[in-house]
């Protein structure tokens, strides 16, 4: 009997493949670029399809119409969503399943006061399209502001109501970390693919060691973060979740940066997808738990474990 076993079960593997195939078919590169061209408006039909596929109801018990799976399965699904750069308040709507009508089915779009910042932060993602804000009694009004990420529209609200989203914080942070891991792994693939194709000095640039080492470091970051996320999904321990978010944010942001570097001038274009990964990684790094908060939480945990 081997109990501490990190390998995915066959069911978990199938789930991951299933989600990957679904997203490849329904939200491939063309769809991604179409949503960029559409100015980031959310595709409500896709949202409903995600709902029908069980994306939001994944962890709702079966007797309440859900799929009845747990956090370990959810992080696999969110990793795939991160890989595909699927837009929208995925985490908030998933957390709202069962609490906000229509969230589980994908007929409602639910966002959250999940963006931190000095003084609690007044920016809210996807507010213009939201039917509800997680934990808030009513929809606040806000002014649209141009967003760094073309697929994450932002609104600035006048004042932030006392949010109840604290209760969702650990799960929100973990699922966001899973999205980051998906992005981090995807950017390694993009960099490696470009490194094999693009030739300079008569050979693929991926044969240059400077490029190789960037790619190798990208994989190291992504794999360490992925392990942290999977483990935190199993233990649901708040410190482990904070660590997973911290490492996943770092891996996603840093990998997107390195991916951009590997792409040279192409990486600086609107046309290449690299910037979309980087910008989304920046957004997610500000959501649910920032690096500073995670580090302080971990330090406190370290101190109490050591005393």
């Amino acid at each position: 009997m081997r109990a501490v076993d990190f390998r995915l079960t066959d069911d978990q593997r199938d789930l991951r493949t299933g989600v990957r195939d679904l997203l490849a078919g329904r939200y491939g590169r063309e769809a991604l670029r179409a949503s960029v061209d559409a100015g980031g408006t959310l595709d409500r039909r896709l949202w409903r399809e995600l709902g029908e596929a069980g994306f939001f109801a994944l962890r709702l018990p079966q007797e309440r119409g859900g799929v009845g799976l747990g956090l370990p399965e959810a992080v696999l699904v969110f990793e795939e969503a991160g890989r595909a750069l699927l837009p929208g308040p995925l985490v908030a709507t998933h957390l709202a399943a069962g609490a906000v009508p229509g969230a589980a089915e994908g007929t409602a779009v639910v966002t959250a006061f999940d963006l931190g910042g000095p003084g609690g932060g007044t920016l809210v993602a996807h507010l213009g399209e939201a039917d509800a804000v997680l934990g808030a009694p009513s929809l606040p009004t806000g002014e649209p502001v141009p967003s760094a990420d073309p697929l994450t529209p932002l609104h600035r609200v006048a004042s932030r109501p006392p949010a109840a989203s604290g209760a969702y914080r650990d799960e929100g942070a973990l699922l966001t970390a899973a999205l980051q891991v998906g992005g981090a792994l995807r950017t390694v693939e993009l960099a490696v693919r470009y490194g094999r194709e693009r030739e300079q000095f008569g050979q693929p640039i991926g044969a240059f060691q400077a490029v190789k080492h960037l790619c190798a470091q990208m994989l190291v970051r992504a794999e360490v973060a992925r392990t942290a996320v999977y483990a935190a999904a199993v233990t649901a321990d708040p410190a482990e979740v904070a660590g997973a978010k911290l490492l996943a944010d770092g891996a996603a942001v840093r990998n997107a940066r390195d991916c951009l570097q590997v792409h040279g001038g192409m990486g600086f274009t609107w046309e290449a997808d690299v910037h979309l990964h980087l910008k989304r990684a920046w957004v997610r790094a500000e959501q649910w738990r920032t690096a500073g908060e995670a580090e302080e939480l971990l330090a406190a945990e370290l101190a109490s474990a050591a005393m």
Partner: protein, 387 residues
């Protein structure tokens, strides 16, 4: 994915904890770092106690003299021994963590019977004779020659950076049994031998490390006779065997140290609280980040151990991913320690300062970080070789 322990594993932990509680107070005082015979005796004594209590070679296959324990039990063993402050493998590093496992995986029944039990009992110490002055990262460029003479190989050449050579009984030695030529590429003519360190013609000259002590040595080989029967694997097929050794060395040999680093980080937090440095938010956050990194490295260890179990016990190239992350984190840990200690980090009477010095070798020994990145890029990511 399942990270909970079975009743059997919890019992195993409890028995081990009890045994450690009883045994550790009986251990003699630790010898000084420069007292090599004393260090050997101390490490051997600890290994003997493990053997007598049934904890030696816990996760080795039963037909190699091991206990056939699950990977989880092995990890529990590492956690508990570290938590209790038990001695580290020390001089038994090569024998227990990579030469032994290589013989278990690649040796004949007779070879296993000859070499493995003494390693498990702590009776025989091994060292690693791979690197040469002209063959470091480019290990396959090694030139130490072995010429067949009847039932012996006659070996001439030199090795360098051989850790624990002074106290070792055996050396896992790489030799060239076939010259490189137009038709024989450099990695084709290598053989993996077990060489007795007391054989005539072996000369060990200690080298002083930057930490001031003689942790490694040069080994000169002048017509040393080693029986052909001491070859593990086929003649000229030693490069394949070497890959097995290196995968143990990079993949699993550092597992116990990750646990040690987590304890060290806890001590560092206590020190920082005591000397007031904890109040510096920049430093405190750096410690928080290290806590996340070592937590993740421990999880990655568990991950690799489950994966290697699935693939028949020999760790895969994923070990390079782990080694890269671990080497960096370990150096960062001791640099952070220096920041916590301030000028005190310069006083060599403290354990921290010495450990900081030894951490400098982590991005070099067992394959430099650059070489690990080449491996990750070419063998995992499939990037092309350069011209």
């Amino acid at each position: 994915m399942d990270l909970t322990y079975t009743q059997e594993e919890r019992d195993f932990r409890a028995r081990l904890r009890e045994w450690l509680g009883k045994t550790l107070p009986e251990l003699p005082a630790r010898p000084s770092p420069d007292d090599w015979p004393g260090r050997r005796a101390y490490d051997a004594g600890w290994q003997r106690r493990l053997y007598d209590a049934g904890y030696a070679g816990l996760h080795w296959p039963v037909d190699a003299g091991g206990r056939g324990a699950t990977p989880t039990q092995h990890l529990i063993f590492l956690e508990e021994t570290e938590r209790a402050g038990a001695p580290y493998v020390g001089a038994n590093f090569v024998g227990l963590l990579h030469a032994g496992p290589t013989i278990a995986a690649e040796g004949t029944a007779a070879q296993r019977a000859r070499w493995l039990p003494p390693v498990l009992r702590g009776d025989e110490v091994w060292c690693q004779g791979f690197s040469e002055p002209g063959a470091g990262s480019d290990l396959a460029a090694l030139r130490t020659r072995a010429v067949r003479d009847g039932d012996d190989y006659v070996i001439t050449g030199s090795k360098i950076w051989t850790s624990h050579a002074e106290v070792a009984d055996w050396c896992e030695l790489l030799v060239r049994t076939r010259s490189v030529s137009e038709t024989v590429p450099k990695h084709r003519g290598i053989s993996w031998l077990a060489m007795p360190m007391d054989a005539p013609g072996v000369t060990v000259r200690p080298l002083r490390t930057l930490a001031g002590s003689a942790e490694f040595a040069e080994v000169f080989l002048d017509e040393v006779r080693v029986p052909v029967a001491n070859r593990v694997g086929e003649e000229d097929d030693g490069w394949r065997v070497t890959m097995v050794t290196l995968s143990f060395e990079r993949g699993t040999a550092f597992v116990g140290e990750v646990v040690a680093c987590r304890r060290t980080l806890g001590e560092l937090a206590r020190t920082a609280k005591a000397n007031g440095r904890w109040d510096d938010p920049v430093l405190r956050r750096r410690l928080g980040r290290l806590y996340a990194e070592f937590g993740a490295l421990w999880r990655l260890t568990q991950w690799n151990v489950s994966a290697s179990e699935a693939s028949g016990g020999v760790p895969g190239v994923g070990g390079s991913v782990f080694k890269l992350a671990y080497s960096h984190a370990r150096q960062e840990l001791y640099d952070t320690a220096a920041e916590v200690l301030g000028a005190d980090s310069l006083a060599l009477d403290g354990e921290w300062a010495l450990d900081r010095l030894s951490s400098l070798s982590y991005t070099i020994a067992a394959g430099t970080s650059q070489i690990q990145r080449n491996i990750v890029a070419e063998r995992i990511l499939g990037l092309p070789k350069g011209r």
